[in-house]
């Protein structure tokens, strides 16, 4: 229980077996490879660098394929299923064989070609569409369009738009050049003619000799010129036909390219997904091995390994070659070994919660087994409804029945909620809460009322002060437990003054005051009442002494001591913080009650009332469950992190991250 003991290991081996060694290191999954503390003159394993570059190239190809083909591929395995372990089972050897026969570079080159062709086709198609739009504007232009492109020897032309109300002035301006020019105004739609500010499309034709004058006149009349594509030279109707044909051709080509991309996606994506896991693992392997030291023919790899995994690893690595030497030693002063939390199976899921805060430093207390029972109980009190607990359990049962290979971390996370559901069930039964007041709210539940009332020991709705008191007592127990753990840690490190002055003192003070409070209410036998007075006084003196112990001046001593005693208010705040247990429990009960009330009201609607009522009740309780589970997870967690950890735990360790096989798309068979 707590933090696993680690050893620092050094592995010496000949270059020729480096791949095999790397394979064993990775597949055993118990070694965190680190770079050596040797002087820098020793060369790093350069050939692993070359390999790394090669592997990363493959990963780059895969990323490109995922990005490009992802939208063309409908994954037969949903990401939810995949998260819960529904993946094909393959060994690294299977994937290596697949990798040897799959040329990812070639596939991505092909996809890249198609991608380029696709964008070229799309550009061409949109160009054709632009031209078509222009021609549609000029559709009653009677001459060949060669006039407006490059023009002929005796005639040139420009296309432009002109506001309706400028037309007359342009015609007027062109009068002196009437012989050399012709203005053709396209009919356009009626709409444009009706409005004076709408623009008209026109073609202005002229003899090349007067080009400049004509253009000046046109610009003067605010005609805005539009560049006509030079390659369009036929009549408008011919050119439109050609353009339509071109557009159809582009559309066809685009469809073909998309079709082939879809086909490639269907063929290669499943393989690419598997290879993604393979190459990413190879990259991890090469990256870790890169930190090995190398001499002419020997490599030295340094890593952390849990002591208990050492014998088995030794056996595996010695099977690779007889010329391998493995040395191990305990961590020395100045080294910071990573932390591997190690707990019994029941507690293990809660390691996630500790990890979310910060793992303990190596050799320090792992708070996981300490927080687990409190989190369990607090979750139960906050959710506190037997009906919700049963729904959660049923959902998890179905989930584990359907998914047999749920990955460990996902499973652990779900297990936290499974434990929470058990606590919720217990608390729900004890407080008579089943989907809120479902049993009391509906007449057809009447037969169960007697059973409910017989087991129930308290009703938070009727006696909230009892539950509040009980929540605060729970809080005091939690906080005091934290203080004792802190005292134990100080004793272990030989800091007796800190243990007594900073932890035990507060323990005595707070417990003494709490008991004293109970005693004044007459709830304690005389002896205990006297003891409580002694405890609080001794505690207060210790707090006072500890705060001022390093001050030399008597006044500073007194001021520090009094300030420290004033710190009792923070304990008051901490204890009151546990009133959230009552509040959140209330929250779920009242939300449940409201849903039942609304359901009951809905059942009064004629004819379809029962249907509405069922919808309201089922939907409402689903909503209530989700909201309350979130709250029941977050708030107990806060009580651990802020109130409980605040008394003894700071975290700050580095998590042990062994080189191993990770996977996203396959289940790697060992």
């Amino acid at each position: 229980m707590g933090v696993a003991e680690l050893k620092k290991a050094e592995l010496y081996y000949h270059k020729s077996v480096r791949s095999e060694v790397a394979k064993v290191l990775q597949e055993s999954g118990v070694c965190q490879v680190v770079s050596a503390s040797l002087p820098e003159t020793v060369a790093r394993a350069a050939d692993w660098g070359e390999k790394l570059a090669l592997y990363e190239e493959q990963v780059t190809h895969i990323r490109y394929l995922f990005r490009t083909l992802g939208s063309f591929f409908i994954d037969p395995i949903s990401s939810f299923d995949r998260m819960l372990g529904e993946r094909p089972v393959l060994s690294m050897a299977d994937m290596a064989a697949m990798a040897a026969t799959t040329d990812l570079g070639k596939i991505s080159a092909r996809v890249k070609d198609l991608e380029v062709a696709l964008s070229e086709t799309r550009v061409a198609s949109s160009q054709h569409k632009v031209n078509k739009d222009l021609l549609l504007k000029l559709k009653d232009f009677p001459y060949s369009l060669s006039v407006v492109g490059d023009g002929t020897r005796s005639l040139k032309g420009v296309v432009g738009t002109l506001r309706q109300d400028q037309l007359d002035s342009l015609i007027e301006d062109l009068k002196p050049l009437a012989k050399e020019t012709e203005l053709f105004v396209c009919k356009g739609d009626d709409d444009a003619k009706a409005s004076k500010t709408k623009s008209l499309w026109c073609v202005l034709m002229y003899a090349p000799s007067v080009e400049q004058r004509v253009l000046d006149t046109a610009v003067h009349a605010s005609m805005s010129l539009v560049e006509a594509p030079a390659h369009i030279t036929g009549s408008v109707s011919d050119e439109l036909k050609i353009l339509d044909a071109e557009i159809a051709k582009c559309d066809k080509k685009e469809a073909e390219i998309l079709e082939s991309l879809k086909k490639i996606a269907a063929e290669t994506m499943p393989t690419a997904q598997k290879l993604s896991d393979y190459w990413n693992n190879m990259v991890e392997r090469a990256r870790a091995m890169l930190s090995s030291d190398t001499t002419e023919s020997t490599l030295i790899t340094h890593f952390w390994i849990p002591t208990e995994s050492l014998p088995e690893f030794k056996k595996k690595i010695e099977a690779v070659s007889p010329d391998i030497a493995l040395f191990d030693r305990a961590p020395i002063e100045g080294e910071t070994p990573p932390t591997l939390m190690k707990n019994i199976d029941v507690v293990r899921p809660f390691e996630i919660l500790t990890g979310l805060y910060s793992p303990p430093p190596y050799g320090e207390t792992d708070p996981t087994p300490l927080l687990a029972p409190f989190f369990f109980a607090f979750f139960g009190i906050c959710l506190g409804d037997a009906g919700y607990a049963i729904v959660m359990m049923a959902a998890m049962w179905l989930l584990f029945r359907k998914y047999k290979r749920v990955p460990k971390t996902t499973k652990d996370f779900i297990m936290i909620f499974a434990y929470g559901a058990v606590a919720t069930l217990i608390y729900g039964v004890l407080t008579g809460s089943f989907f809120g007041d479902f049993i009391d709210a509906f007449f057809f539940m009447a037969p169960f009322r007697a059973v409910k009332n017989a087991i129930m020991i308290m009703d938070p709705m009727k006696d909230p002060m009892l539950v509040l008191g009980f929540s605060l007592v729970f809080g005091i127990v939690h906080l005091m437990f934290g203080l004792l753990v802190g005292a134990y840690d100080h004793f272990r490190h030989g800091n007796y003054a800190d243990a007594i002055g900073d932890k035990i003192s507060w323990f005595l003070f707070i417990v003494g005051l709490s008991l004293f409070g109970l005693g004044t209410a007459g709830a304690l036998p005389g002896l205990l009442f006297d003891l409580s007075k002694v405890m609080s006084i001794v505690g207060a003196i210790l707090v006072f002494w500890y705060a001022g112990r390093e001050k030399t001046n008597i006044f500073s001593k007194i001021i520090s001591g009094l300030l420290a005693l004033y710190g009792a208010t923070s304990y008051l705040g901490d204890i009151l913080s546990y009133s959230r247990l009552l509040a959140l429990g209330f929250g779920s009960a009242v939300i449940g009650m409201i849903i039942n009330l609304l359901g009951g009201m809905a059942s009064g609607i004629p004819a379809i009332g029962w249907l509405v009522a069922i919808t309201v009740i089922v939907g409402g309780h689903m909503f209530g469950l989700i909201i309350n589970v979130l709250g029941s997870f977050v708030h107990p967690l806060r009580l651990q992190y802020v109130e409980f950890f605040g008394k003894f735990y700071t975290g700050g360790g580095l998590a042990f991250k062994p080189l191993g096989l990770s996977s996203e798309y396959v289940d790697i068979a060992k």
Binding site: L353, G355, L356, Y357, P464, L576, S577, S579, R580, L582, A583, L584, F586, G587, V590, I591, M593, I594, L597, G600, M601, G604, I627, L630, G631, V634, H635, L637, R638, Y641, V642
Partner: protein
């Protein structure tokens, strides 16, 4: 004037769900803007972002809860006869609704801001999800305490 008490009480119930609801809407909106920004870079963070965005939503629910609690107390739910409320009792119910109304309103907005910041945090450090959830939950503490105050106060009000 015989309905003054009931009106005052209803005013309180309305404020509870109204102010707390506004607060949650604003808070979730603030967090949502941040979440959308993060997801444009990394759509896979949808799950974590959604949880963080949802955190300031509880105040609205607490407000609703108090509103129902008050309505239930007034006998306005379930179609029976409404309770007879003097103006004094009406004021008492109005006062009881105040903690959740105002604390809910303000805390949801600030919780939304903290959530938005937490969302930015997990954008860079997804492994810090635990801490990212706790920071907004620190703000929510006061909404929970206000809820508790309102519930206890409402339970204490005696309607004759």
């Amino acid at each position: 004037m015989e309905y003054l008490g009931l009106t005052l009480a209803l005013f309180g119930a309305a404020l509870a769900s109204l102010l707390a609801g506004i607060g949650s809407a604003v808070g979730i909106g603030i967090a949502g803007e941040s979440a959308a920004g993060v997801m444009t870079e990394d759509p896979d963070k949808f799950g974590s972002c959604l949880i963080l965005q949802a955190l300031p939503g509880t105040q609205g629910i607490y407000g609703l809860l108090i509103m129902f609690f008050a309505l239930n107390k007034l006998g306005l739910l379930g179609g029976g006869e409404a309770a007879l409320v003097t103006w004094n009792q009406g004021l008492q119910i109005l006062a009881s609704c105040m903690p959740v109304a105002f604390v809910g309103w303000y805390s949801a907005i600030w919780q939304g801001k903290t959530s938005a910041a937490s969302i930015q945090m997990i954008a860079k450090k997804p492994e810090a999800m635990g801490k990212a959830i706790i920071l907004p939950a620190m703000v929510e503490t006061y909404a929970v305490l206000a809820l508790l105050s309102s519930i206890l106060m409402l339970m204490g009000v005696q309607l004759g």
